[in-house]
């Protein structure tokens, strides 16, 4: 077996021969924006210019008198908003929003002449300053990318590139030189807490599994990221799949695991493909299978595709699903670490948690602990989305404030017109369906597992959705409740029936039939469901409702007392009308109205028949004179 050091050296030698590397972000976001077309166009021009081209460093480099250009695809680089992203090394240039038409300029000017193309650089919206690369863009400089560091730098389909970043070294060291207990101790010492939501200490989970006496033990990687508004696991699996496999190998060493399963959402086809490729490569290299790294330790990994059930993200439900049953959680204890897949001890870890493991070992647990807060060491990835300038995947140390994330990394809040307006900040929803909404007064709390819990929210999967003042908080509560209600597995009554009743109560409110009594009932019901449900899904389902009731009571009150939706989002509580003075009688609205509710003569003010109107908003969007208003019923 070739040693890791030798592979690294070979890879480095090959890299040194390159004239340039052009790295195209091929994460889901950039692909949707046309990254593949850009890749094809660049390849075409390189060929046209007769430059030696290589698409991977896996194969031998072309033999020519000129140094070859590497054109490679990486995983998600996080800055999805401005994709497709193209990085050029060694010049350290980052081009954004690249189109196939730009390919000729990139090759002719940047690659051949060494010129920087200004129009493709990122411009800082607030200062107008052009940024040449990642080191100059505030979105990146204010983060500390650790788990995500290699995502977007390395070729996820080349194990050599991963080894080049010291990959698999930690796994080899643990297997060859440490005992299982020692590996558990390292994780305990590092204080790594599970990134899946609950924040359970990883080392303790592993130790619990290690103590079990069993002929078989399983390691499951939970890649069933079902939370709406979160995509960090997807990006890690797509961008650096080997780091997840390495984490699983180390987990297997720590608790005596015999087989691993990666449970991935089938909605993530690229992640499934990349993980499968990575497993094949690792197996071929002897890092998976029998006697890995030449030791007497056997461990192999398989992939299972989820079939679309949010509740399967819960550990005991996930094991049921892998065994070919309906994914329903069961009563605990025993914990899955004691009794899981096929009744054997099973460790279920989240993708991001596993990706942290080799990093911790490489940097040393003491160094790891120096970032983050004392209760929550390390960094956390967040999916920053919603009404914010820079959306994408970010990674910051625990303890960073929401203010820093939203206004500095995120670049500020966008108002309904899409302009930067920080005064338009209303709330940020954190932690998905298990989390809650935070407001202005929470912006300076240092974010970690414990501080969030104390204000009624949760790190959860790490979704951060910023909302401006045009958002109706009752509708947000309804949105999450509708989600958990439809995803409830139906096993326990509080969750099955309770979430349905909560949803109906919210519907009453949005339809204008609510009263103060509905809100009292709603609160009581939420507390009961939270206390009595079987698993985490039901237990945390009421959180988004309770937190909006607490933070935005006046908005709920307006819905029930005045039958008025302050933001005009609840259709049954608003009406459309035409301002006669502003209407030019252009008939544009008449033509788009799907129910013929608008009438009037040409060049005269029109009127909307409220009985016919279905409040679709098509007229408002079409009107060029801002002559149609959306108002509350009582106005």
């Amino acid at each position: 077996m070739e040693t890791l050091e030798k592979i690294k050296e070979n890879f480095e030698n090959k890299k040194a021969c390159l004239s340039h590397s052009i790295i195209i972000c091929a994460g889901t976001g950039c692909i949707a924006n046309g990254a593949m077309e850009v890749h094809a166009a660049l390849a075409q021009i390189i060929k046209e210019k007769n430059l030696p081209l290589t698409l991977t460093l896996k194969e031998e480099l072309p033999e020519t008198d000129k140094d070859p250009v590497l054109l490679s695809k990486s995983g998600c680089q996080g800055f999805c908003q401005v994709g497709p992203l193209v990085t050029i090394e060694p010049d350290k240039i980052l081009y954004i929003k690249v189109k196939p038409e730009d390919a000729r300029d990139i090759i002719e000017k940047t690659i051949l002449q060494g010129e920087v193309i200004d129009r493709l650089l990122y411009e800082e919206p607030s200062t107008g300053k052009s940024c040449r690369n990642h080191q100059e863009i505030p979105f990146y400089t204010r983060q500390s990318r650790t788990v995500l560091k290699s995502c977007g730098n390395i070729d996820p389909e080349d194990i050599g590139d991963y080894i080049h970043t010291d990959g698999y070294k930690a796994a080899r060291d643990m297997i060859m030189n440490k005992s299982s207990q020692e590996v558990c101790d390292i994780m305990q010492e590092a204080g790594l807490r599970g990134r899946g939501g609950g924040g359970f200490t990883t080392g303790r989970k592993w130790e619990l599994a290690l103590k079990q006496d069993s002929d078989a033990k399983y390691i499951i990687c939970n890649g069933d990221e079902g939370d709406p508004g979160a995509f960090m696991d997807r990006s890690v699996m797509e961008g650096n799949p080997h780091s997840v496999l390495e984490g699983m190998i180390i987990a297997a060493k720590a608790c005596g695991g015999t087989e691993g399963q990666v449970y991935v959402r089938m909605e993530y086809p690229l992640a499934v493909e990349r993980i499968n490729k990575a497993i094949e490569e690792a197996r071929a290299m002897g890092y998976l299978g029998k006697g890995i790294f030449g030791s007497d330790f056997d461990f192999d990994i398989f992939v299972m595709e989820g079939a679309g059930a949010f509740v399967c993200g819960e550990a005991s439900a996930m094991t049921e699903s892998i065994m070919g049953r309906r994914g329903m959680p069961r009563v605990k204890p025993p914990r899955t670490a004691e009794k899981g897949l096929w009744g054997k001890p099973t460790v279920v870890n989240n993708v991001e948690t596993l990706a942290c493991v080799p990093l911790i070992i490489n940097m040393g647990e003491k160094v790891y602990k120096t970032t983050g807060t004392s209760g929550s060491p390390g960094t956390k990835t967040f999916a920053l989305t919603g009404h914010v300038v820079n959306t994408g995947l970010i990674e910051v140390p625990f303890g960073t404030t929401l203010r820093e994330i939203i206004f500095n990394i995120g670049g500020g809040v966008l108002n309904a017109k899409g302009e930067i307006d920080n005064d338009d900040f209303k709330a940020v929803q954190i932690g998905g369906p298990s989390g809650g909404c935070l407001i202005e007064e929470h912006l300076d709390i240092p974010l970690d597992f414990d501080s969030l819990k104390s204000v009624g929210a949760m790190v959860g999967s790490g979704g951060l959705v910023v909302m401006n003042k045009s958002t109706c908080m009752v509708q947000i509560a309804r949105f999450f409740m509708k989600f958990t209600q439809s995803e409830s597995c139906g096993k326990c009554v509080p969750c099955r029936e309770g979430t349905r009743q909560i949803l109906e109560l919210i519907d009453e409110v949005t339809q204008g039939h609510g009263s103060q009594e509905s809100l009292t009932l709603l609160e009581e019901l939420c507390e009961t469901v939270g206390e009595t449900s079987l698993c985490g899904l039901g237990k945390s389902a009421p959180s988004p409702v309770l937190s909006t009731l607490k933070q935005f009571r006046s908005e709920w009150d307006a819905h029930v007392n005045d039958k008025h939706c302050p933001t005009g989002n609840c259709k049954d509580l608003v009406s459309y009308s035409i301002i006669a003075d502003a209407c030019k009688g252009c008939t544009a609205c008449v033509r788009v109205c799907p129910v013929d509710a608008i009438s009037g003569n040409r060049k005269e003010a029109h009127i909307i028949d409220e009985n016919k109107c279905i409040r679709c908003g098509a007229c408002v969007e079409t009107c060029r004179f801002e002559a149609i208003t959306v108002g509350g019923n009582n106005e």
């Binding site: 889901t28 949707a32 709406p228 995509f231 595709e305 994914g327 999916a383 919603g386």
Partner: protein, 166 residues
């Protein structure tokens, strides 16, 4: 209706299903990947096939139906040639995915109950999150992802896909 008759033809031919079953060693524990492969072949799970699968694996049809109805990815109804998945994750929701759903419903005369057009050309689905929140609101038609879709663009996309069939 070329697609429908093609499906009917396939129905009477269980050889494809047998191939799938063999690929998974006819293990009852592999029922979920088996059903996924079957659905990929037929675009839905025909009742006859489910019964056939149950018998072949030696488990009760009730268990197979139980699984087929539990997981949202499985469909017991034939789906359209083009599956329009509108992401209704939090990010897409706050950026207006419900407007897109309404537009599609209106353009294709679909409703919350009727999700597939009678000519089996389009099926409308909402998904919890596609993990492409940076592109909100996002829509996927079959395998192609469209980001930051406006209502107007949605209309144009439908017209474009319809035109492909004419």
């Amino acid at each position: 209706m070329a697609t429908a008759s093609m499906t009917a033809e396939k129905l009477h031919n269980f050889s494809k299903v047998c191939e799938i079953l063999d690929k998974f060693d006819r293990l009852p524990s592999k029922i979920i990947p088996i059903l996924q492969a079957v659905q990929e072949e037929y675009r839905y799970l025909p009742e006859e096939i489910l019964t056939f699968v149950a018998t072949s694996l030696g488990i009760s049809p009730a268990r197979v139906f139980g699984i087929a109805t539990f997981y949202s990815h499985f469909s017991l109804e034939p789906k359209g040639k083009y599956i329009i998945k509108v992401c209704d994750g939090t990010a897409c929701h706050v950026k207006g995915s419900s407007g897109l759903i309404e537009t599609i419903e209106r353009e294709l005369s679909l409703s919350e109950k009727v999700r597939t057009t009678p000519d089996l050309l389009f099926t409308l689905e909402t998904v919890s999150c596609l993990g492409a929140c940076g592109l909100a609101p996002a829509v996927v038609i079959n395998d192609k992802v469209y980001g930051q879709v406006s209502k107007k663009q949605m209309k144009e996309l439908i017209t474009e896909y319809k035109a492909k069939e004419d």
